[in-house]
Symmetry: C2
């Protein structure tokens, strides 16, 4: 091959340091999920086409990576005169070409799993899932074609306790990661439904939420313009403006929304739910990290109750680092109705960037080999090898330099790999059953009987 | 959707218990890799087509899952009269259809990574990789279309120390997993090359190794038949038979092979290398777990030195649970020659089956929620929630039942989820600031002041 090797656009290799830093984030999220009683699930990378298609809207369908049927390789497609490939190309519908696709998110495969296994599962079923997904999106800064999602969902329960737990999961994860200045914004789709009802009917819901969703990007004036274009009249737009301008503490906001939409049944419900989540989420959260935000709409139309959006601390320009909400009927898509649920997601790639920007990865996250044994010859390295094996039994991560080489070269290897300690066993040391232990950070060194080498020396 | 949902043939969902058991295997292997100074690498699921094609032989090429270009969805392919799909179907070569594919193993993507980054890497570069791969193989018992590989490779070193380390990695992993009766068979491709030379020339190498590779399956007589069909004469076949019948302890085998092939330079090298690995691998291994086996050939032609095959304990019929070997020039395929290396792989799916068959998963592997707090009403559950949050701070995995329900129902939930302890805080307990703690395994219960609840109670 003459071309320089490369990887597909929008995909990434993760070298040792990046893998370890990402694992630190995954492990933090995983351990908190487990602390809250969520159980791990893994689904295949590929799903049947009909499982995915039509679930993400027209735009989403286009962004699903489809897998070519390997009928191309099937003997029955291979006659002498024409290639199997040409023959398949004659096919008249896409099913001849592709029946499988890469998963686009973790939610639909989860719904498919619950629908397939609901007879065996214990409800409420609390699962978490940390896996890659694929989208044929145009790659750009912070947007990849292959990226991880970290989801936690509870299905089979209408209790608001779940929302309260999920708020606390966000808080625990972000606190453990050092992102104490995060903001978790919450709203209720029921309040948005009430607003739509107040502005002329449920059919306005999509128009209103789509416009409100853009508030951050385009500002209030443009949102009002868009509402007008979408056929809302001046009075309705004034109401929506009043709604969007609600401000103050969580309690003040709840009081104001009560005046505006509390007379509508669906509004009353939404307000009550927000009140409960705001009150029950535990001390120190409400009003500081947990912020009621009526401008939060979330585009996805399957949300029906409380919705969440997590934002990075304002000191770093990153925006959303997580989100979620309650849905009434996810598995209905797969023929199993009436399983309500609520879920959240962490945006790991963005969290990685935020931790990097704020220098929040802990010192010890990138720890590879702790000790390098120098290779000083055949007899010496044999002694070093058996000594090293004893240290490994104590859990010390060690290496023996692979060949006899100049000290300088071996030092450089230790340095480049960021190894903290070296042990030199030369011919004198073999005779004395000792080793020279050098701490490469402090520069101090000591001669130690080999029998005294232990994990305590290398911290 | 009216069809029952399903997943693609040859793929699997892993529920909570399976994920945890698999993680136990992955974590064991990962920690041993780290103990030996290997560093993690992750490459994308998809690679460019030209990275993969032609690397696995003609059969392999057919088994690569190709990803459909999303040109199908590209606006420029979408005019009114014809669908983008039809238009693409007119394309004359496969590049119009697919430019990306799912990775088929971890070795080629690793070689691609080293070739792309060799300027920045520190050699010898020791990496491990634990990721899924995909093959469009006919699914059957124990063979999946999506499965994990666990590889460790060292590149940039010719030292046999690496082989010795890899032998020890196999030993440490299998010992930690309780597979003390495993067998690690080793041979050298140099010895096979010497045999080929002795039987008429290097061009016989592929014929001989292909036939020998089938010995386990078809037996000696059929191997001899195949050798005859492949054009080897009686004398040559007799030599090969003599070779295959070499038996005894490792030392006895080395003595016999010395007599047969020691006069050839390449044979001498191979024998010496086997002797070194056999001798240096440490006490207790050679002859018991580490077995020299001249009938081991390994089909892959890129191996050039020591080759490995790990077998499950003979008590369980499973065969190979790992393998590997030395190669001279892996990255040459990608334009960067002269980087020799050696690597091994663990067959995780088979190891899982072996541990299951032999009942070797440790008791504690499947531990989800430790404590379930019963939900006894609004005020009671509020108390339970704040108590639970304090326990979680101590690392205890807890849940509060999601709604007020009959005791019976809550007991059943704990039972089905295999939760070991329940805590009941009813109205009396709220008044007294106590909780009733019940151990569901022993049946014992006690009333404990809430302030005394701690992680020590729930072991």
């Amino acid at each position: 091959m003459s071309n320089k090797p490369s990887i597909p656009q929008g995909t990434r290799d993760f070298g040792p340091e990046e893998v370890r830093k990402r694992q630190y984030i995954f492990n933090t999220i995983r351990s908190v999920f487990e602390l809250y009683g969520f159980q791990p699930l893994e689904t295949p990378a590929m799903e049947n086409m009909e499982t995915l298609m039509g679930k993400y809207g027209e735009e989403g369908d286009k962004l699903i990576f489809k897998i070519l049927n390997n009928g191309l390789n099937d003997p029955k497609n291979q006659d002498k005169s024409r290639s199997g490939f040409e023959k398949v190309m004659e096919g008249k519908n896409s099913k001849d070409l592709t029946e499988r696709a890469l998963k686009y998110d973790l939610t639909i495969p989860f719904a498919r799993y619950v629908a397939m296994n609901h007879g065996q599962l214990t409800f409420p079923f609390k699962r978490y899932q940390i896996q890659p997904v694929w989208r044929a999106d145009r790659p750009q800064r912070g947007r990849y074609r292959e990226f991880y999602q970290c989801d936690a969902d509870v299905v089979g329960s209408k209790s608001l306790l779940n929302e309260v737990e999920l708020v606390n999961i966000y808080n625990e994860v972000f606190t453990q990661l050092g992102l104490t200045g995060y903001e978790l914004r919450i709203n209720s789709r029921k309040i948005l439904a009430a607003l739509a009802e107040f502005c002329g009917g449920a059919d306005k819901m999509i128009d209103i939420t789509t416009a409100i969703d853009k508030l951050d990007k385009i500002g209030l004036d443009k949102v009002k313009e868009e509402l007008a274009q979408r056929g809302l009249n001046e009075e309705q737009i004034n109401t929506i403006e009043k709604y969007l301008l609600i401000d103050g503490s969580n309690e003040e906001k709840l009081n104001q929304i009560e005046l505006l939409l509390g007379h509508l049944e669906i509004g009353k419900q939404g307000i009550e739910e927000l009140e409960i989540v705001n009150r029950e989420s535990g001390p120190g959260l409400a009003g500081s990290n947990l912020i009621i935000d009526f401008t939060l709409a979330r585009g996805l139309n399957y949300y029906t109750g409380i919705i969440f959006e997590a934002k990075a601390p304002a000191t770093v320009k990153m925006g959303s680092i997580g989100g979620g909400g309650r849905y009434d009927d996810l598995t209905g898509l797969f023929g199993v109705p009436n399983i309500p649920g609520v879920g959240i997601s962490f945006g790991v790639d963005r969290i990685y960037d935020v931790l990097k920007d704020l220098d929040l990865f802990p010192e010890g996250v990138y720890t590879g080999t702790q000790v390098l044994f120098f290779n000083m010859g055949v007899a010496e390295s044999s002694k070093a090898f058996s000594t090293m094996q004893l240290l490994r039994k104590q859990g010390v991560r060690c290496e023996l330099y692979h060949e006899q080489a100049k000290m300088d070269k071996q030092f450089k290897y230790a340095e480049k790999k960021n190894i903290g300690f070296i042990v030199i066993i030369g011919s004198t040391e073999v005779q004395n059953n000792t080793g020279v232990v050098k701490n490469l950070k402090t520069g101090t060194q000591q001669t130690v009987p080999l029998a005294d080498l232990s994990n305590k020396l290398f911290i």
